[in-house]
């Protein structure tokens, strides 16, 4: 086989291989679907299940102590937790750190909402966490309504989003929106 034919053949193999693998990259969206189940221990020991929280809105924040934007956001989550008591649950899920480290963080930063330990990152995997922090807003019916990526959430932003997801959808408005979407 001559030089040019060999080059062509080998580059073709490489091209087909890469095309095959690149085409596999796709994942369904999480927002708008049911929140994946979890059952995790808190830093203090008791287990919290998503099912236990059904019927109330949930602010689910994934974080880690080494993530500076996460720790900067914590005081706002704490304020929201206090303001939303009885209306919504604020839950923190720590990504793969030790119980002692999380306990120390709770003590230092006076966090009173539950901080769950996702020791092996399985829940983060289910929630498609690639960056920290990321916060999910789950409506009382267990549907993920919103996702905020990156730090910078404030108490007001959290409360506004909870208000939005608790507002029952207006059937007339939804129908009008659907008609608009259906237009060519």
């Amino acid at each position: 086989m001559d030089f040019k034919r060999r080059v062509k053949r080998r580059f073709l193999i490489a091209f087909v291989w890469s095309g095959f693998l690149f085409g596999m990259a796709a994942s369904p969206p999480l927002v708008g679907g049911p929140a994946p189940h979890f059952a995790l221990e808190t830093a203090d020991g008791p287990k919290v299940r998503l099912a236990d929280l059904k019927g109330q809105s949930i602010v689910l924040n994934f974080w880690a102590t080494w993530c500076a934007p996460c720790t900067l956001e914590m005081p706002e989550l704490q304020k929201a937790h206090q303001a939303l008591k009885g209306k919504a649950a604020v839950i923190g899920i720590n990504l793969a750190e030790s119980r002692d480290r999380v306990k120390e963080f709770v003590h230092l930063h006076h966090v009173s909402f539950p901080l769950l330990l996702d020791t092996y990152g399985n829940v983060a995997q289910d929630y498609e966490v690639l960056h920290l922090p990321v916060t999910y807003f789950i409506s009382p019916d267990g549907i993920i309504r919103d996702k905020v990526f990156g730090g910078g959430l404030t108490q007001k932003m959290i409360e506004d989003r909870i208000r939005q997801i608790e507002t029952p959808p207006n059937p007339a408005a939804a129908e009008a929106l659907n008609k608009l979407k259906a237009r060519p």
Partner: protein, 333 residues
């Protein structure tokens, strides 16, 4: 005196290691996975990696057995279009390579990287003209073309699977013939292909790398493979295709220090010249590679690895590495 030598081993084929570092933070968020040489860069970010490798080839092998004495190896004589078997006797080769890798995250999943081996330096000790049993004393020095700029490789790496615990990166790229491959020795002859900084051929490279975070940001297992499809260079010489298979684990002792252990396998097919099989080329190496990664700051990590042979097999006889050392610094911005 003729200053020809055949190491049978190209330094860039000898030591290629997966380097991992995880979790990097920006002002608004932290990403869970980032890589340097083998991985992907965050979207819109550069990772610049500077590494140095030292490989000492002073063990003689016959097949996969130890070989007493120094091996006689072949020489390719381009001027006459012939291969001279058992042309010279090799004693030692010290390879030093400095490489700059620049990666840029085009999207969250796609990274383009450029590998620039800007310094290939080989120091040799051999005796020339051994054919027929009478060896003339001599050495081979750097002035005879063992020092120079190597071949640049451009790779596209795509994260096919990119989740908290699983990362699968597929890569495809081209190794260009940017390095010198026709350097002449002190007698004006073209040096041996295996001693040149570049191969003179444009090759295709494909790769795949899978990383499983058993405990995210603390304990990871990884496996990877790559294959280089070589082509014939304008001197009618073709290096053998090379396959790499790597596997290992990375464990973060604390926020700053990670231990990395890996097994690296490299299989290179025999080279060909004018369709003839070139003696003393082609090899299978399996190395154990313990290493250390130190996160110096949010953007800078330092790493070092030692490569220790577990299994080495050569065609006929040749020198093989007794050990290799690699150190580098990685900077993301």
């Amino acid at each position: 005196m003729k200053n020809f030598i055949k190491t049978g081993v190209l330094v860039f084929l000898v030591m290629n290691i997966s380097v991992w570092a995880e979790a990097s933070c920006g002002s608004s968020n932290c990403t869970l996975i980032r890589g340097s040489q083998s991985g992907i860069a965050n979207e819109g970010r550069f990772v610049v990696d500077l590494s140095y490798r030292y490989i000492r080839q002073d063990n003689a092998k016959q097949g996969n057995n130890s070989f007493d004495g120094a091996p006689d190896v072949a020489k390719v004589e381009f001027e006459n279009g012939v291969i001279e078997p058992a042309h010279h006797r090799e004693f030692k080769t010290i390879n030093e390579l400095a490489q700059l890798d620049i990666s840029y995250g085009v999207t969250e999943r796609l990274t383009i990287s450029v590998n620039i081996p800007f310094l290939n330096d080989r120091k040799h000790e051999h005796i020339d003209g051994c054919a027929g049993g009478s060896c003339a004393a001599g050495t081979f020095s750097n002035q005879d073309g063992t020092n120079g700029f190597g071949d640049i490789t451009v790779m596209g790496k795509y994260a096919v699977i990119h989740t908290t615990k699983h990362l699968l990166i597929a890569g495809a790229g081209v190794k260009f013939a940017s390095g010198e491959y026709k350097l002449r020795n002190s007698e004006g002859d073209i040096n041996e292909p295996t001693i040149m900084p570049g191969t003179g051929s444009t090759d295709a490279v494909i790769s795949a790398l899978y990383n499983f975070s058993l405990i995210p940001n603390r304990l990871s297992l990884f496996a990877g493979a790559s294959h280089r499809f070589t082509t014939e260079n304008p001197l009618d010489y073709e290096f053998g295709d090379t396959t790499r298979i790597d596997g290992g684990a990375s464990y973060a002792l604390n926020d700053r220090i990670s231990l990395v252990g890996q097994i690296n396998t490299r299989i290179s097919r025999r080279d060909e010249y004018l369709g003839m099989r070139v003696p003393n080329t082609g090899m299978t190496f399996i190395n154990a590679t313990p290493g250390l990664v130190v996160t110096a700051s949010e953007n800078v990590s330092l790493y070092s690895h030692v490569q220790l042979p577990v299994y080495q097999r050569v065609n006929e006889v040749n020198l093989v590495p007794s050990f290799g050392v690699m150190a580098g610094i990685s900077y993301g911005f």
